[in-house]
């Protein structure tokens, strides 16, 4: 079972190392990890997608909370959140394939951000399942390079992470 967890941490030297080290030291897996500043000074948000059952998830959340630099852990597993991911996809596209690529890009409301005679580079945003879907369609046409950001998430409704 995939879980998306956001940890809001003090932007202290080495804090990302601490969080990542926690996962590896305890044998929790990291499918993807994303870190960036928030609108509050000195606070960084680290978003991790991990796998595990309920028991493992509970331990992950508790261990993250135990870190001194952690201000809050937000567990997005209960469904009341929006998840998004961005992918930059370079596909080889020659002659007969070029039109097909454009059709797929259009269907997924993605964007072409670079073009050569032999390739297109596509920017796609959406929830992780949408990204997986566009990739599945583009794969047979020839994926040259794939860059994914990993999922980030935000809660639905008017409240922020502080309440």
């Amino acid at each position: 079972m995939n879980h998306t967890i956001s940890v809001l941490v003090e932007n202290e030297f080495g804090v990302l190392s601490r969080v990542a080290a926690l996962f590896s030291a305890r044998g929790f897996n990291i499918d993807s990890i994303n870190a960036a500043p928030t609108n509050e000074e000195g606070i960084t948000r680290i978003t991790i997608v991990t796998k595990g059952d309920e028991g493992i998830l509970e331990q992950i959340v508790k261990q993250l909370n135990k870190l001194i630099d952690t201000i809050k852990v937000v567990d997005f597993s209960d469904g009341s959140s929006i998840e998004r991911e961005m992918a930059l996809i370079k596909v080889t596209a020659e002659d007969n394939n070029r039109a097909e690529v454009l059709r797929i890009v259009d269907i997924f409301r993605a964007k072409i951000i670079d073009v050569t005679a032999k390739s297109y580079t596509i920017e796609a945003t959406g929830d992780p399942q949408k990204i997986d879907a566009i990739l599945e369609l583009l794969r047979p046409l020839g994926l040259k390079e794939l860059v994914r950001t990993g999922a980030v998430a935000i809660g639905r409704g008017a409240k922020g992470w502080r309440g």
């Binding site: 941490v9 003090e10 080495g14 080290a21 030291a25 508790k62 135990k66 630099d69 952690t70």
Partner: protein, 566 residues
């Protein structure tokens, strides 16, 4: 007042109530040592290895309840502290370790004696800090001490580059420091406490399972009140020894892999386990799927991450153990009649336990020719002071001490439980003696572990620390040999420590005294002589070579499937 970073550090330590530090000089801490030279308010003890200094700070912290302090230089000095830090981390001991670091401009450059100690100790410290600005020293030290001693205690490392020690700033010790991400819960929720008390009053075979947390929380008296109020039997982990008096009628002794038969049986047949300041470690639970099959579990712990980590918990109570015990006793006062009734109702359970004690007591046979290690421990107990402090090393010596010494007061037993660090016994005793110069401090070690920090004999003599070092010598790496005997066809691979060492000569080489017993009738005499020496002593006992620690719960077996005779 303006002063350099090194002096600021010392002034901060003084503000935190530190009067004793352990440490070893070097290039990146020479400025601190220069300031220390004139700093009258802190006593410094120089070990002969940074690992020993760290264990000494650990032993100091365990016996006093204060934060132990160790100072080491960068590079190899810092890496030498890692074992000691991990030891303290596993047992939740409050410590602050200050390591020197190369100047900030050289960090990351593979400079001379540079290591990324912050990276190395990330997973074995409660938290660590690298200070880059002299103006941050005061607040960082304050945070370090606060973190070290609060919530679930632990070691904090501060890495202090040389140029930061040399730079100057105004010394201004903050009144308060705020750590946004750290708000430990001390107060047990009253509703949870109420539920717990109801569960206790409804149980028929309850057991109190207590660990190091009861010692750290200074809750021995409250535990005693609670246990006796309802007549609930008490078993302690290795870390909890002394939290409940070993000679008390309700005491089951230690449980777990080498615990007493009655303790393990009580846990297995219990219908309610009240766990306090203990973490259901694998040495205690044995096979988890068959652990305490009939029991509901109440788990009291200040660290929420410890709860439900290994076993299912029916009623978690996050909070300081002492606080929760006080609340429980108060709650019981409201149900005085039911409580009294329970004391009556538990009689059959206590009889069942007494039967287990009689069926399989902790025993050994002391013959005429060879000294049994358990006999030495019992004699030490008999002849030692009422308030003696005992440290152990790791292995058979540790287990026999835990089984046979019978600790009655908290903060009198020092042992590396979580990490099981050989070489801990002697330096930990050293730290304890530094804290209490007038109390009797005994270090019980095996012939394996004692060699790992034997150089501390020099520290003992130089600082007049009259530690009594007992060596239980079976010329084997005992515990490993036991496993090789039971499970590996007696293939004693690399566990024979046959070389005879003249420990009397060794003691005298350092300026101490040594005594040797090779026959049972010499044991008492050696102990008396050793104890009456004014300075540090080595007392060596050549014991039976292939004695086993029993009972034993083998790997993969359930807690009640103990091997009692082998």
């Amino acid at each position: 007042m303006k002063m350099n970073g090194a002096r600021i550090l010392l002034e901060c330590l003084k503000k935190e109530g530190v009067d004793t530090v352990f440490g070893y000089p070097g290039g990146t801490v020479i400025n601190i040592y220069d300031e220390l030279f004139h700093f009258k308010d802190i006593k410094h003890i120089l070990p002969r290895h940074e690992q020993a200094g760290t264990h000494a700070a650990d032993g100091y912290a365990r016996v006093t309840g204060k934060v132990g302090v160790m100072i080491a230089t960068s590079g190899p000095g810092a890496t030498n502290t890692v074992t000691g830090i991990a030891t303290a981390y596993m047992d939740s001991i409050p410590m602050v370790i200050v390591t020197g670091q190369v100047p900030t401009a050289l960090i990351g450059n593979d400079a001379f004696q540079e290591v990324d100690i912050i990276g190395m100790t990330r997973s074995c410290t409660k938290h660590n800090y690298l200070i880059r600005d002299v103006r941050d020293i005061a607040a960082t030290v304050k945070k370090a001490f606060y973190l070290a001693r609060s919530g679930r205690p632990g070691p904090i490392l501060i890495d202090l580059p040389k140029d930061v020690q040399i730079a100057t700033a105004e010394f201004d010790y903050p009144e308060i420091v705020e750590i946004r991400g750290y708000k430990p819960t001390y107060s047990g929720h009253p509703r949870q406490v109420e539920k717990a008390v109801n569960m206790m009053l409804g149980s028929q075979r309850p057991v109190l399972y207590v660990g190091g947390g009861v010692v750290l929380s200074n809750a021995a008296e409250e535990l005693n009140q609670l246990a006796h109020r309802l007549s609930i039997p008490v078993t302690t982990t290795l870390m909890g020894l002394g939290a409940f008096p070993g000679h008390d009628e309700l005491s089951l002794g230690m449980l777990g892999m080498h615990g007493a038969y009655c303790a393990n049986m009580a846990m297995t047949h219990s219908d309610l386990i009240i766990a306090a300041g203990a973490r259901f470690d694998d040495r205690v639970t044995a096979k988890i799927s068959t652990f305490a099959p009939h029991a509901k579990i109440i788990h009291i712990d200040v660290d929420p991450a410890s709860i439900k980590k290994n076993v299912r918990v029916d009623l978690p109570i996050v909070g300081d153990v002492r606080d929760v015990f006080i609340k429980m006793v108060k709650q019981l006062d409201k149900h005085a009649a039911k409580a009294d009734e329970m004391v009556e109702n538990l009689k059959p359970w206590l009889e069942e336990i007494a039967a287990w004690k009689t069926k399989q007591p902790l025993e050994y046979v002391q013959g005429k020719n060879t000294i049994k290690p358990q006999y030495v421990i019992e004699k030490l107990r008999e002849l030692s002071d009422e308030d003696a402090i005992v440290s152990t090393d790791v292995g058979q010596n540790q287990m026999w001490t835990a089984q046979f010494f019978q600790f009655r007061k908290p903060r009198t037993f020092l042992s590396s439980g979580g990490l099981g660090t050989m070489g801990y016994g002697l330096p930990a005793a050293m730290g304890a003696q530094a804290a209490f110069p007038d109390r009797q401090v005994i270090a019980i070690c095996g012939d394996g572990g004692v060699q790992m920090n034997i150089q501390e004999m020099a520290t003992l003599v130089q600082n007049r620390l009259p530690v009594k070092l007992v060596i239980i010598n079976n010329n084997f790496l005992g515990m490993v040999r036991q496993w090789q005997e039971l499970f590996f066809n007696k293939n004693y691979s690399q566990t024979c420590l046959e070389l005879p060492i003249d420990y009397i000569k060794l003691a005298e080489a350092y300026g101490a005294k040594g005594f040797l017993a090779t026959k049972p009738e010499e044991v008492e005499d050696v102990i008396r002589k050793g104890f009456s020496e004014k300075g540090p002593v080595i007392m060596e006992f050549k014991v039976a070579r292939e004695e086993k620690v029993l009972p034993m719960v083998p790997s993969g077996a359930s807690l009640n499937e103990m091997v009692c005779n082998a």
